[in-house]
Amino acid sequence: MDFDDSPEEAEFRAEVRAWLQQHAEPRKSGHAAQLDPQARLERAKRFLAAKGAQGYSAITWPKELGGLGGTEIQHLIFLQEQTQFDIDTLHGSDFFAVGLELCGGTIMRCGTEEQRRRFIAPLLRGEEIWCQLFSEPACGSDLAAVRTRAVRDGADWRVTGQKVWTTGGHYSDYGLALTRTDPAVPKHQGLTMFIIEMKQPGVEVRPIRQMSGEAEFNEVFLDNVRVLDSFRVGAVGGGWKVALTTLGQERSTAAALSFIDWQQLLALAQSTTMNGQPAIADGRIRERLAECWLNNFGVRLVSYRNQTALSHGAVPGPQESMAKLIITQQGQRSAITALDMLGTLGSLSGATLGEQWSQIEHAWYWSPAFRIAGGTDEILRNILAERVLGLPPETRVDREVPFNRLSA
């Protein structure tokens, strides 16, 4: 048992670290807030262009498509190394995360050769931004119930409907849209996936203001939007399989969310006075801190276990749902613990208390969102129970019935 890299892994790690030191800022809080969104976007594009030129945007994808042609372990090494740098805030990886982590992988696995050649390279160089057009006002967890219709228009298609919770829809160039092409068959069978050009007539993006006051999500209205048949991903009626490919990736990447590190919570507990003594001296705080470390550091240990499994030839599986389940709930608990430590003073906003507290306030607003996005806590538990533990699916009333004959 050891945590040592093989000579090849160590060499790659050194190479990645040197590259990051040259191109990325060290991790520290509070920079992003000072940049306006356009400046952040420009910065993120420049960073991704450099990253893409090096092949680091898609380490496991083939070189001819702009990847590095590397291994899963090299990918994991890159992820481990980049946690030391301010990738998420300063370089705005959030602009490209949906494209790189979800849409790109879906096109790689389910798209045509022509689609891969057209879309992958610009994505990896930060030239085109993607969003995901999956959830709708009437369906989120029950994704196969989407109502957005795609109908034939000669050789091509027309798409009409409403999508929601579309991260980055307002600055995206392309969207991956799950649509219904046949309402007369049971719901999982009548779905088809398309790539939609976002900047065209008939596509209207309206920001949704969240409780944090920010507007990262959008509603997207599609009104008779023309889509080429060559932009269809997978077979007509095969959209559910494509959607599952997308969703499987969402959960494996969500584990990188930590919101509040245990180091941060510990530092707060040491510097905050509670009931006339340092908060760290209070048994209740110690218990919560221990729980925070067990979960946050535990998820890192999970990634070491995954790395070991990958090196023995295993493939990533549904057990990866676990990390997101752990880390998002812990993020919320840590934020609330931090605020509780402050007592009455904690009722003030980050704008009043200062930068460190803005970050905690941010975690408090955002952790509930991430307990929903990409599979709710409940859906993740279903996945673990059904796909890892082999329990039978819930009895369903909608599986065999044509979609247009389902009530409600």
Partner: protein, 365 residues
């Protein structure tokens, strides 16, 4: 990166698992619960000795196999999986390890061969009765022990005991005491889990000898290493509790369907799985730490101990709930997990102590 056991260690695990399944650990535990057997299962103890479990970490010159703590971790997980009623943690995890790490050459050659063969059973005593006002601490004075230790796990079966006492100056000292000598009185002390029995042991001038390097630091180190082994036992037991609950959920029907298809049941099982997998990662980290004597050992041991306690407590509790009424009957094996979970959560100190140690270790980092 190899954050896993080696193929040889996994082979060792397979052998142990086959033997322990044949030996019916839970059935053996039930015999003790029903008072049809005393102290521990000698057939399982003997079977493990034949596979070299007790000898694994003991040096070859003392009739051991000269392997390391990783083999003990594998053994602990498998022992926990079948809830085997045996003095593994007491005899090997604490007594033999104390002598191996901190004993004199004389102490090692006196005790280790018998402990390695399983023919001598060892134990340890740290806890004292802090419920009674005026209870005094156990003291080692001029080579003689005075005081009372309770609970001493496996204390009725053991021949030799590691006694954590105070010396003449009041400093902690790890002493070895031959329990067959005069000056030692033992009384059975019933526990929450009769398959993990204990004794009250009174020392009235019993001859005892300090371990060569048996100071407070030695005791802290021993306790950390034992906590990792106990965490592996807890991990194995939690896995088996999950498996028992899952099997029942796949078999039992209610409202016209298998109860395992209800989300209320699924989510309990998924939560068990998550706690267990998290505990597994912390246990492996603990195993790595004690096998390399890493400076992270205090933190890693506390992490393994806390997460494994959480996992087994939860699994044992919810296993009963998933079984419904049958789960609280004497006949059901649910009680074996429920009893073992609670006892394991308390021996070596409860979660409150270990959470404190965890935070103290984080503060030192």
């Amino acid at each position: 990166m190899n954050f896993d056991f080696s193929p040889e260690q996994e082979q060792f695990r397979d052998q142990l698992r086959r033997m322990l399944e044949r030996a019916d650990g839970r059935g053996q535990g039930r015999r003790i619960l029903e008072k049809q057997a005393e102290h521990y299962s000698s057939s399982i103890w003997q079977g493990l000795a034949e596979l070299g479990v007790q000898a694994a970490a003991i040096p070859e010159k003392h009739a051991g196999l000269g392997l390391g703590p990783l083999e003990l971790c594998v053994a602990a997980e498998e022992i926990g999986r079948v809830l085997a009623p045996i003095p593994f943690l007491s005899s090997i995890g604490l007594c033999a390890e104390a002598i191996r790490l901190f004993g004199s050459a004389q102490q090692q050659s006196t005790w280790l061969p018998g402990l390695a063969a399983g023919s001598t059973i060892g134990t340890w005593g740290f806890a004292e009765n802090n419920l009674t006002a005026g209870a005094s601490e156990t003291r080692l004075t001029s080579g003689r022990l005075f005081g009372t230790k309770v609970p001493v796990f496996d204390g009725m079966a053991a021949a030799v005991m590691l006694v954590v006492a105070k010396d003449e100056r009041g400093a902690p000292v790890c002493a070895l005491c031959d329990l067959t000598q005069p000056g030692v009185t033992r009384l059975p002390a019933e526990t929450l889990d009769p398959t993990r029995p204990a004794a009250l042991i009174r020392f009235e001038g019993a001859p005892a000898e300090a371990l060569a390097r048996g100071d407070d630091a030695a005791w802290q180190r021993l306790r950390q290493r034992a906590a990792v082994l106990l965490a592996f036992e807890q991990l194995g037991s939690a896995e088996a509790a999950l498996e028992m609950a899952r099997t029942y959920a796949l078999d039992r029907s209610a409202f016209g369907r298998k109860i395992g298809s209800f989300q209320a049941i699924k989510h309990k099982l998924a939560d068990m799985y998550v706690k267990i997998e998290l505990a597994r990662c912390h246990c492996y980290y603990g195993a790595w730490a004690i096998s390399t004597d890493a400076p992270e050992t205090p933190l890693a041991a506390a992490g393994a101990r806390c997460s494994a306690t959480d996992a087994l407590d939860y699994a044992a509790q919810e296993n009963i709930q998933i079984h419904g009424g049958i789960g609280v009957t004497w006949e059901s094996d649910c009680q074996l997990f429920y009893r073992r979970a609670r006892l394991n959560a308390l021996m070596l100190g409860s979660r409150y102590e270990w959470q404190d140690r965890l935070i103290a270790a984080l503060q030192r980092q």
